[in-house]
Symmetry: none
Subunit: 383 residues, 2 copies
DNA sequence: TCTGAAACGTTCAAACTCGAACAAATGAGA
DNA sequence: TCTCATTTGTTCGAGTTTGAACGTTTCAGA
């Protein structure tokens, strides 16, 4: 990603507090940062970032190094005051991406690990069972791992095989944002995952309350999240008595720019013909593209087409800002580490925990304002 | 959007409370706000907004920054200081029975409450929505409850109505051994429940490993647990390719002694005719009676009839001792209290947690030793 | 050890935000 | 209707934040 060219902030400047928060997040996600990268990423001068680093260093939240900053290190004398005993356990963490979605999960995990005095070793992997296994194996071989947090690829026979292998590992294993299917007797695996199906349902209900009566769904079938979103969308349609077979469900995985534009036109045409006035779009990156496309084609958002995105990574950058379902990413990491800490402390007597976390719906501009004067329909309870 | 020109309020001025509410809304939507934008949007002076921000900041609801406000941040030192000393909370707990199953749950809850320095008030109730509500209301009225842990009756329309009522209570509510169905938008309810379906599956797999190829199920439909047990039994049969329609599924709810004996004879006759050599019996109280009946009728346990009970309250008392699925009762209470403590400490920012705990299988005499020399069939993994 | 490049910190100015003081408007209750 | 308490708006000096310029320090490689 060309972070040097386009500051992620999309022109909007952040407050210093937000900048420092971002900085800490990057730090927790990557372990270290350079002043130059962050300055470019946030679109401010390097001096500003240096000042931020100094502020954070004064509070003992980072260690200053030449060229950037790192997580507070015991080697850093300026902080070395009241650090209690050394790391009790080491936890390995293997995630499928280090740019999308997962940095915040890692950040949450790192924060909790610090609080629990655990060491955490993060590895990126491909969305691919074989590579997942390779990365895990590497951690097992080279580091001294006491527990493993992993978000494996679960597709196909390889995925199932991988789960069985993980289940049989001699150390505790916790899945993040994944659930073992019931047909695999993975009785030792624990997990913490966002209830995406609930989130999709929440979005549909919100759109219904805004007066929409035909609500479509645009997905990216390459993502492991998509099936859950679709399930939640379908369940909600059923609960609201919206006919499923007349509702739009399109997938735009793996389309590049030209094809995507064509596909979006196709979707808009479908919307027109079916009377669909609202869409739930999975991966808000795609939602941003879709909103852009609507604006280009003169379709008013939210007037003629209301949109809710799913993931809330970049939704706020669009114009108009996109309402989005936000998975509790940092909590997924945090809870996974809590689970691991408890497991390591209590051993086998502790029952297997499997935790669902609910996402929240962030209402912005792309979904509010009822279509065609259908306002005033109020259900008893929503978000 | 021409927010600068036309304040959204359409001329009507809002009360300060509404304004602050709007402010928080914008904040949740965008993560941060600038005084200037909000002032323009609401059509009031910047000073007014600043005063609002100060008010909210004093309550710890926002973090003040130069130029605006952000969601409360851990980097904001002004809040970090204000950690009030272990504000001791009171938790109400309403359970449907004080002699079966629940005493251990309560005991787990009490232990954790003590560790967390919380007060806990337990009330027994009937298995009945109206009485549940009465008991909860009594706690709310007479005691000063900060949170509620409850195992309500969820049958019928009354049950759903009760759930909606619980969801709307102004204090956090955590269900114990219950889950709100997806069709009720009970988006605030949290829960911790045993995965009985998993437990039943574990029992079936165990019996399969012991060589049984026809495995029946005896339930007590008056218990809220029963449907889950049946579901798990059915799923496991499907996974093991045991024909469901040829398998015994009997219910002996509400039978008194004479009728029960007759029914058990009927069940044994069915077993003989279908070649069923193993039974999963829900509520191990009933399993004890069934084993006794088998012994009385000269049916050898486990030689001719293997039995696994469900609940493990009294299973060890039978002769022979009964293998049983043991729900992690004390952990259900313990985790519920942990959840409540975290909720009370972290407030609304914390995402809704929904936790499944897996039961364990306690293998005793009533299920080991393969029938008819079919021993030695070993699957790769079981408990 | 030396040297060039990069990183760092100080100083200053510009732009902007904040809050005190006081004035005006509003609404509740006598 | 009048009074008092509360809320809101205006003005203006004080305070904050940011970035450019430029001299100093640090680092890596020869």
């Amino acid at each position: 990603m060309s972070s040097e060219q386009t500051p992620e902030t999309g022109g909007k400047s952040l407050f210093s507090l937000q900048r420092r928060e971002r900085l800490m997040e990057e730090l927790r996600a990557h372990g270290a940062i350079t002043v130059r990268d962050i300055a470019a990423k946030l679109g401010v001068s390097e001096l500003t970032i240096r000042r931020d680093v100094n502020t954070l260093a004064d509070e003992g939240l980072v260690s200053r190094v030449h060229g950037g900053a790192t997580l507070p290190s015991p080697l850093d004398r300026s902080v070395a005051v009241g650090r209690p005993a050394a790391h009790s356990y080491s936890i390995g963490m293997v995630v499928p991406s280090l740019d999308y979605y997962w940095p915040q999960v890692i950040s949450g995990a790192r924060g909790e690990a610090e609080a629990q005095n655990l060491r955490i070793l993060v590895r990126g992997s491909a969305y691919d069972a074989a590579d997942n296994r390779r990365q895990v194996q590497a951690l097992l071989d080279t580091q001294n791992i006491d527990g493993l947090i992993v978000a494996p690829d679960m597709g196909g026979e390889h995925g199932k095989e991988l789960l069985r292998w993980l289940n049989a590992l001699p150390i505790p294993v916790i899945l993040a944002e994944r659930r073992a299917p019931a047909e695999i007797p993975a009785h030792r695996l624990e997990w913490v995952a966002t209830d995406h199906s609930f989130g999709a349902g929440m979005a549909v209900r919100h759109l219904w309350q805004e007066g929409h009566r035909m609500i479509g769904c645009l997905t990216d079938s390459t993502s492991p999240t998509s099936p859950h979103v679709v399930r939640g969308w379908k369940q909600a349609l059923a609960a609201l008595k919206i006919p499923l077979d007349a509702s739009i469900h399109e997938d735009s995985a793996k389309l590049d720019n030209g094809d995507r534009a064509k596909h979006f036109d196709h979707v808009l045409e479908l919307c027109r013909s079916t009377g669909t006035t609202a869409m739930l779009v999975h991966s808000d990156t795609q939602a941003v593209a879709f909103v852009q496309h609507c604006v280009d084609r003169g379709v008013d958002v939210p007037g003629s087409m209301a949109i809710v995105g799913y993931d809330d990574e970049v939704a706020y950058l669009a114009e108009p800002a996109i309402s989005a379902v936000r998975p509790p990413k940092s909590y997924v990491g945090k809870v996974a580490v809590q689970l691991m800490a408890a497991r390591l402390a209590e051993g086998r007597m502790r029952p297997v925990h499997r935790i669902d976390l609910n996402p929240e719906l962030i209402v912005r501009e792309s979904s509010v304002g009822a279509p065609r004067g259908l306002a005033g329909v109020v259900l008893e309870d929503s978000l």
